[in-house]
Structure formats: structure tokens, C-alpha cells
Amino acid sequence: MSDSAIVEAARQFILDRFLPGEAAGALTPTTPLISTGILDSLSVLELVTFLENRYSIEFAAHEVDRAHLDTLVAIESTVRQKGGRG
């Protein structure tokens, strides 16, 4: 099964912005992003701004954390819960 559009969009954003030169395949839907240092605290904030703008959703202050954003799968689920459509 191919990855959802949300996973794909988040993957592309992270690759372009934070992993220039990396092959798309290296970033799987379950690769930990925050605990591995791929995304640091400032990168996470940029990702949130990207997701908010793209999907017209809003993150509450306490949702900007590892539980909601550590993998592409978690990101997709968070975006969907907020009514974002891929």
C-alpha cells in the first residue's frame, strides 16, 4: 500500500528542509524524527507551521511534542484527528 498524501507531504517537507541530499527511501513512515535528532526543537516548530498552513488546522500548545510528531505515521494521525485531509 502506498503512503498517504499526508505522509508524503510531510516527508517531502522534512527532506527538502532538513535532510537536503537524502534519498526519500531513507525516511520511512516509522523512522523516529525527534528522538534521533533529525528534527530538533526549532525544526519541529517549522514543521508545525507547515502543517497548520497546509491543512488549515491548529495545534494546541501541548500538542507540539514527541507523542504527536515523532514519526510520519504519528504526524498523519495528528493531522487527521484535527480534520486535515490529505
Binding site: P20, G21, E22, A26, L27, I38, D40, S41, L42, V64
Partner: protein, 523 residues
Amino acid sequence: MSGNALLVALAEHARSSPDAVFLVEMDGRTTTYGALASLATRIAETLREFGVRPGDRVGVHLRKSVDAVAAICGILHAEGIYVPLDAAAPAARSASILVDCGARAVLTGGPSGEVLRQELAALDAAMQVHLLTGVGGGAGIQEWLVQSGVPVTGTQGGHPTSPDSAACILYTSGSTGGPKGVVIPVRAVESFVQWAIASFAPNPCDRVASHAPFHFDLSIFDLFVPMRAGASVLLLDDSVVANPRLLVECIASRGITIWYSTPTTLRMLLDHGRLEETPSGALRLVLFAGEVFPLPQLRRLTRAWPAPRYCNLYGPTETNVVTWFEVPPDFDFDREPSLPIGEPCAGVIVMVEADCGGMAGAGEVGELLICSPTTMTGYWNRPDLTARALQKDSQERLWYKTGDLASRDERGVLHFHGRRDRMIKRRGYRIELAEIEAALSHHPQLGAVVTSTRVDSRGQTVIVAHVTLRGAERPSVVDLKKYCSAHLPLWMIPDQFEVLHSFPMTSTGKVDLQSLGTRDPGS
């Protein structure tokens, strides 16, 4: 309480106003001066029972909490030296720091505590590991005290601690590949606290936000200045320090009056925390240190929140704050080239040394030398590095050579001009690029590693690791970042990696860093 001068104020407040709140955690739990003082006394008794003697090093590997503050005070009460560690850093790095300083014991807790215990066991380190079950609100340390079963005697501490004895060791990135320990004597903390009290007049109604982690020198202010003033401290732990919206909200809702952080943090509040749409509440003083604050963002900040005083504090970990600049209301953001680092704090002498050795003239750039009562004793167990950094003049005054470049203008105001070596500042943390190179050089697929830095369009420092391969196999960037996260703190992980066949060389046969640094590995 003990003879440690740093705790005299704690004991006094505990006597005169035991029910005054000292610590506030994010979940709203509070701890009074009376409760903290009694906790510290019991921790000290227990540590002594466990064999901690004056001058012994004791690691504090706990997330920011009442437990961590109580541990620090307890260690000082026992006349020990506290060694604060980053509980979020790789266990291997924390373990190597504990081994380096020959710690007698470490107080740790939570999942990262268990990992640290295993790491120390693997190193065969002869060190007591006190694993707290649960950290927060002082509950973990209370339970540890009960489990330890040391009877409460309420005995007073021993002799007055000498002002030259060490209070703490703060580990910073080292140029020889591993972190080095900056030994901070009681006298230095005392001098700094006295200057801060005289300059900012904190009082018992103040509420100070403790944003910096305890292993970062900014925390000396957060802990000991409010303690002296009888003020309260809001402990911002890992769950909120990187969450700008929560931080901005809590400044007004928690009645914060004094804020001290890096410019990076304040920029994060501006760019991602909706600071400009949020009231500043009772905030009266904003202090920042650790790196250069770009003027456009500082202008936005002071316009959005015009009420507080804004002060740029300058000083490396080795000396703590030695110069400061209060941003005047009429500061000309358009005409000033950068934010000055200002004038020396009371009791501090600074000198700008020209390359030829003499004192630099007005406007001339040279190395900044500092003679200050807030200066470190030296680097732990590194007399070679200490001798290079601290030098006596003919009047027996001790000068610290900062490695920072500065100039003094006609008005006597100091300006910062960067570094003379390969140390960089990123998000307020200082980083020796050699430490990153040393960590990456052990990667099985990498040959040589050279790092360079550049500043991106947002004014952020970007670290680029240029690597050559050992064989044909090329690790992915994700693999390299994962590898780094196991060996380096998050703030030291390179942003970009560039794989090269070989490094460009200068005519003298050295790696051409300048040429490496100007390339864009992303393209």
C-alpha cells in the same frame, strides 16, 4: 544549615518566612523555603552517611524539578560539588563526564537514569548510582530519603566552607574531542549573585522563570539570585522549554516578572509563540546571554513588549557574566551595527589585547581578557588547559583569556566580534567543532570528518559535516543523524552532511576550511 555561603539565604528565608513559596513546577505544585531547606538538610545527612565528603563530586542527572533543586542544595549543604548533567543527552556522554570528574555518587531517575546506570556499570565505574523512582514535586527525593533509612538528626553542617572551594563543575564542549569541566568556586557564584542583586533589585514578590537547564551557566542566576532575594522560581522542564506557545502564555498567566534565556529562545517565542499577540503580564526584566541577539528580532521584541527592561549579558562559562548592556528606550536600531556587550560589571576589569600584545586602541579589535572575582578555579583535572586560559600578570592578578574578539569604542562601550578559534555558538550553547568531528570519526563507514559552519538566511548557525567514506558503502543522512544522536547532545548534531571523495587542501597542505565552508552541500 551548613557553612556554605550559597545556602545562607535559604536558611534565613526558611527561618523568617518558612511558608513563602520558593519553587513552582509547571503542574502547579509548589515548594516553600521551609520545605526545601529541610529537604536539603536531610539529603546532606544521607549523602554524608553514604560517604560523601567535603570536595566530593556528586552528579545531578535529573530533569528540572524540585527534586533536582533539592539535590543541588543538599550536595552543597554536604560541602560537596554538584555536577549537573543533561538528562536528555546520550548516556555515554554523561557517564564519561561522571568518570572524568571522579564523582563519588550520582542522583538520577526515570528511564534515562536506568540507561545511565547500565552505562556506568559497563564502564566499571566505582560510583554510587542513586536511582530515584519518579521525579517531580520532590516526591522522588523524599522516597529516596525514606528508602535510605538514614535517621533524621537535624545536625548542623561543619565548618564554614572556604569561598575558594568549588560549588559546581559545569561541563562545556572541549576542543580536544571531549567535554571539559569548568570548576566554579563558591566565591564566583557569590560575586555574581551580589552583582545581580545590586543591578536588578529582585524582591520576594518577583517570580523568575528558570528556562535554562541546570548544566548551562545561565541556571546559576535562576537558582541563586531568587534564593538570595526570597523570590519564587517557576521551573520550566523539558516538556515546555521548546514549546513557545506554552512559554509565551505562561509568562502572563504565571505572573513571571524576570526572564533569562538565550536570544535563540526569545526568537523562538517571537517566530513560533505568537508573542506579538500575547500580553507580557507582569514581566519587568528580560535578560539574555549566550550569543549575539540580531537587532531586527530584538527590535520586534522590544516593540511588542515595551514594558520590561532589556539587558544583554556577556561572559563565557569560565567567568559567568562580566559585561552588560541595558538596551536604552531610545536605542537606534537602524544606525547601530550590532548590540554592544556594554561595560564591565562592578569589580570586573576587562582588557582588549591587540595582536602585538599591547592594549588595543579605541575601535581596534583584539582578544578580550577578563580579570573578575567570578572567574573559575580552572578546568577539572586539566592543568594544561587551565594554564593556557588563566594567566597571572605582574601584580598577581589572574586574567582569563576568552578567545573572543572585541573592541572598545570612544565611549568605552565594548562590542563583540566573534571568535579567534573554531569554537562556535549555536542556540546559546558553545560547541567545539572538534568534539563533533571526534564523535563522527568513530563511525564505521566514515573516513575523515571535517566540520564547517555558515549562517543561513534566518540568521541561524548551520553546522555542516564534510565526510569522506571508508569503503563503497554510503550511510544515509538519517543513519548519520541517528548515529550522532547516540553520541552527541541534540544541539551538537550537524544540520547537513556532505560526502566528498577528498577534502580541498590549501597550499600548505591543510584542509581548506574556508573553501569547504562556502560550498552549499544542499545543492
